[in-house]
Symmetry: D3
């Protein structure tokens, strides 16, 4: 197995506050001896547990990076017992240009695990997390939002897992995060995910969807900031007790997804958080080439509430138009 | 003065419902004898007044096109006294690909008036509106939203005009539209605008900003549909009375705009519709290349409420970060 | 072996006429939860043999898609005994934009077999054909033409195969197709081809080259329509007898290909179907940067007739300029 | 009026054979002090009339450049009485990359006359022809074909002109050219054309459409070569008599053009040169997103024969699908 | 005449040191209310003369921006009598991406004068310099180098002018600058240049060529820093006397330019500053498609020394390959 | 193991001078049956040793291709005892467009060894060298320079090798080459290099860095020409003795590399070949968005002389800014 080419510019296991980069050599037409420089901050105080906090797994999602750049700037080692590893923009090449996938290799970081040390840039980053950072962690928080093309009701989420003891720890952590909504997720296709890689190592892995559209709002950033603070307290790394907040639990059963089968202009006829009846229209797709045509209707398969939707005004056949979730509590 | 090369595929002045296109010959590498085809619908019943209804002046704004494609599909000539000209996507080349400006000439339609019959594609379209469509209209409604890079509190707006009788008619129409917010606008630079071209012909010109982000919501589309219906009733073209709804009046005084002077990740610390004090922070810009740096703060020049904001998570020096308006009622 | 991620929106084995899509999830910057949607039509009546009919293996070839969209629209299940699977545009992403290879991964579908369930988009489609559709088929017809950069004399073709019984069935099917010309092909490099994948499963595999240039003609579309009708009758799936038409048999011996060794403007000095003597000039390449230079001459290696040629007016060193075939009957 | 920045590297008015370039300074990112170099050949023997022969007015049309590079290479000054100016690729930047319009400014050379000496690259070239080359000419032959997106029945053409003496000379020259078909053209929009610029100077201006699709055929190149030879003999510049060949005269009356109003895959149901009845289907446009839909039909407005058609397999709303001409003799 | 849309964020005429921007509103697809922000620094102490110092007129030339960002950072108002206006990157959009011309409109800033207030972004910037900054200046220094595609022997230059008193002041200033070489330039085409605009207002205009290749060297940056310091002292704005350095005077007579007439790989056979004999080879152009071909030779028209050369390894027909200057002292 | 698809158009092992191509089939959108054509020249006279001489491993480095096209043109078989294989542009697709990596697959040829016969275009070329050309060679010379983004002091180099006998032969060959500087290199990451592939076969492998910036100078080309001549004489292939020239030996110890950690405009404060003290500033990075900021300083880790530097005026975080080497003799 080839060594991973990334070298950190700071020590990974030293006491105190360290700001630096993961430097990945990347030779290219516009820099023969260039590198990808992924910002990293490690704060350590003694031998307590380790939290690995990540944002920018997809480069167009902002609540995580905002909360984590802020956290990295303000964390005081003396307030901790243990270690906090902060990587606010995992897929830094994507984050730098504001795209979901890497502009270098078009790879989706969250389908690139466990990575390859001699693969593409994204695969090399995944491999480094898999070999070096994940093994150090006890608890992992990976921030997501909908990005430029989806919008979500803000929730924190964990996966249903075969190991029920591990699952219980995950949902306790989700509860501690304290988002307005909490989701019990089953992934249809979990292959290649960062989540899966962490879970298979037995880590407590918590994720979020906190909004979307390629932007953030003051409100969703507040949820993110409070959530990471709560989680570090819940894990016993940051002193103090988490702020207990009400949350509603959701599930995504079969039939929750509605797909477009036409190209056109989309009209979402229900807003996020509104109730939906099975068989009712959740979106219309309007042909744009001429006036006078009827729109195509997209109907919900199940009853529940709208938790996610296609964001841009134009839609293509095959795009997910809407997601309807059901209450789990 | 050269003739405008656009030919409509339907009669402009005939009774009944007509769906067709404005055909603009456009020779290019991928179609030597191609054309731009702008959808148009004209519904006429007798000699009443004429409304010109337009969307897609900027191609990434959706409330207008959604309301107008729907209106064009459903208008019954028998319900009218007068004429309704509907062009749901004025800058159709831009609308087709979901961009603010035309992908053909990068022109901003709303700075291309009065147009040029032998200019670029966008200038030719502007010239056609200026010569053929605007002169036919008594009242003009041009829908806007924030597009992909701005987000607005939903409002209907008219301009302060030198002719106070004309201005009074405009604000009466804005009032009839019935948006949650109404704006009295003074443009800093009104040269080249569709608005100005119409106003200089003495038309009653009404515009909107109904949201943004390159999407629409069920709620903002409802505002648009109700607004156009109200306006046609107010103008006496559609039978019935406008639905009277509460609105709050706003103004945009000097100092309302805040500009970024750094590149980075933007955090809007106030949400749309929230109160702002002069001197308070409305946004922060975070350097993204390393952790541990302080963000740059953007502060409001005046007190009021936040009516518009930069939308994408990344920002560039020179971008408008926030707009603060004051209550006018 | 990972499961293929494609899910069909119609049943693959039900009676009657079914129009739908092969939906392949494809996450990307402009649609986080998007999909590739490949149109498919399956018509089944009872337990007779199954024909798999495909076009758009290369996305810039049109006789196949035209004949197959028409067939799918008009097939009456009651006229069949057996099953017809129609995929008019195998490499739908390429077909949608009119390019030979996929705009997503630049893969040539016809060099991507047997495919990979966790590979690129094109490899996933190939894998689905290999695992799900090819095994269902008794006879396979894959339409090709020259595409944007080659032009062919219209022929139907089969490969010389090690299993002579299989080969005989193939050439009987080619004969039944009834194109003006018929070709006995030996591929120089058959690795990765759809043809090879099907033949190795023992299927009767028939292909065509029916013109080219990235267009179609009324005449070549008639050949395609009649050919598919004849083939379904020959296979006993469609009732009635194939229309017997004269054909001339061709071979492509060693030396049939002529390659350009210069960049420039190409002049094909012989038209398709015309006779060629070994050593005679079949094309000239003109330097374009100045007048007064002599053209480079390309000479035939063998005598025969011109069956294919480079199509665009410009040529690059390494392009195949001409193909000369010999009569086999 | 600013001087045109083009300088020829050969004398324009000297005796003998001269090969060189029109050098147009063009500063750009990849060459601060670069130039556009347009090949030109001038052959002069004494004081006879002057022919200006041009190809590559559109950069994706090849019969003209092939005939003219060949002519320039082989013209013997002693065979002439007068002057032949040969510019095989007028819009050389477009010709170099095989596109209709210039890759530099996207201008259509044939809508750029009379040009501008301080305009774009294409406008500067047009200005040079208008000021320097056209005034020297008695007769002008400008070769066209359909380019990558149209295909034509091969014809030579002249315009109906207000000056009937000039028109008679034009049609005599068209007759002498000796193409299989000859066209009497009235342009709908003649503004900006090279043709118009020449005709307004009183020149005998002859043009062609000799095929298309972005390629050439041996047959169409033979027509071009023979045509230019015949024309130079007809003009008394080249010794000998034109080869008299049969031709059929055509006209393009109102209603000759059929436009697409849908996007899709086009099927031309009639081939070039075939008869068409008014009201009969000349093309179908197939929706490509799903099977089972009916195609849109395009019907001829007039009876006649098909003289031109859209070439690529895909078509967009607004493209010219077909041109039907009527017999004029 | 429309007002120029640029607004400075600092006062243009106030005492002391002011750092800010020229803000030019620029609406575009990725920022509806965006701006171009051109850094500017103004240092004023009392009523002495005004120097306008500019770099980045072309965005890929670095000696000027390096010297001027450094000067702006370190200028102490108390050391001055008069005003220094520093714009280190005139064409900031080009400078930001390292290209000669603006990525927005592809305009060459140095052929855009006197500019247009309602033109393209580059024309608007030129107009602002023409209307607001140039009129304030007594002496103007505009730094140039060869950029990415040319390399120069380092020289300071002035133009031969019709007003000999003005010319004398210019050459005195060039002399004071103190570059190793000094050039008396006559422009072939001075239309649209910043230089010309300034000279026509009667300003003392000094320019440079200090290297090239899209880079800088420690040595050439030293020349730039010392030059600007000397010039400010010479103008009486900065206290102290210029450092007197030896220089050699050059001229660019007719025939100084050698142009490539072929595409290929260029070999410059003489280095900058070396002697050249008329008729000797200064460069060879090698065909790259095959081995065994002879290179094309480019020969000097005049004797002198090599002062400039094409920089990249590949060359196109029409590129300036070499410039030979003669000694003027 | 699949056969490599490359076929040479000349015999690899025949006596005399042969110019031709390595033809690699490459099907793509703009040429369905296209090929990559890599120029090759083989000169053989009898059974002496074989030298494999390569340039254009990176497509933006010119000293090697210039020396080798010239050598191929002029080599006389009678002057040899043995064989010279010349491939002046290994990565021909990259060389053709002047980029470091291949425009087809973005692969760095010098990290693609040992290659893959069914991989990307670059991997197929590497595989061909690995299987066919390297095994034939006794001595290998691979020319490099800095390319567009680096600049080097001109040196010839060999690697420190585990086999000291092989190493001694390498350094003897480096000595014979006769560059002004000679380098003893240890690669940090030698995986995938052409060098490593050759060395592992036991070949005497010599390489160079002869300048950079994407250009060449007369002086560096002279070094290359003399070096290859010397090397062939040293190897006993070309008759005569190498020209003995002084050289200085260098080493690259730990700490030799300095990396940028900021984006901005770079000022290299030391020129190539100048002395550097550990801790002294070798470069500054200037923020470009506003005046008045301090530059970031990059300091040398070790004392020595500057042997390489970042070339373009703009720099990105992660780019190698400077390389300091120490004297080894």
């Amino acid at each position: 197995m080839k060594a991973n080419p990334i070298s950190p510019t700071i020590p990974l296991d030293a006491e105190g506050v360290h700001h630096g980069h993961l430097r990945l050599p990347y030779s290219r037409d516009d820099s023969a001896w260039g590198s990808v420089m992924i910002p990293i901050c490690i704060v350590r105080n003694g031998s307590g547990p380790t939290a690995l906090l990540t944002g920018g797994n997809h480069g167009d999602e902002y609540e995580g990076p905002l909360a984590l750049f802020d956290l990295a700037r303000s964390l005081d080692a003396r307030a901790l017992s243990g270690t906090v590893i902060v990587v606010p923009a995992m897929n830094y090449p994507a984050f730098r240009v504001g795209t979901r996938t890497s502009p270098i290799d078009k790879n989706n970081m969250n389908r690139s695990f466990p990575g390859k040390s001699d693969g593409t840039v994204t695969q090399k980053i995944a491999d480094y997390f898999h070999r070096e950072l994940l093994p150090r962690a006890d608890i992992v928080l990976d921030f997501h939002s909908g990005g430029k093309t989806l919008d979500f009701l803000p929730f924190c989420a964990g996966h249903l897992l075969p190991d029920k003891a591990q699952e219980a720890k995950v949902f306790a952590a989700v509860r501690a995060f304290g988002a307005p909504w909490s989701m019990q997720m089953t992934e249809i296709d979990a292959v290649g995910m960062y989540d899966t890689a962490a879970e298979e190592m037995g880590k407590v892995f918590v994720t979020t969807e906190l909004g979307g559209g390629g932007t953030s709002r003051a409100e969703t950033v507040r949820i993110a900031r409070r959530g990471v603070d709560n989680l570090l307290k819940h894990a016993g790394i940051l002193r103090g007790a988490p702020e207990i907040l009400p949350t509603r639990w959701l599930e995504m059963p079969d039939g929750c997804f509605c797909f477009a089968e036409e190209d056109g202009m989309i009209e979402t006829t229900v807003d996020l958080g509104e109730k939906v009846e099975a068989g009712s229209v959740v979106a219309r797709i309007w042909p744009i080439g001429r006036t006078g045509s009827e729109p195509h209707e997209i109907k919900a398969n199940i009853s529940g509430i709208l938790v996610a939707r296609h964001f841009p005004g134009l839609v293509q056949s095959g795009d997910c138009a809407s997601v309807v979730a059901t209450m789990a509590d």
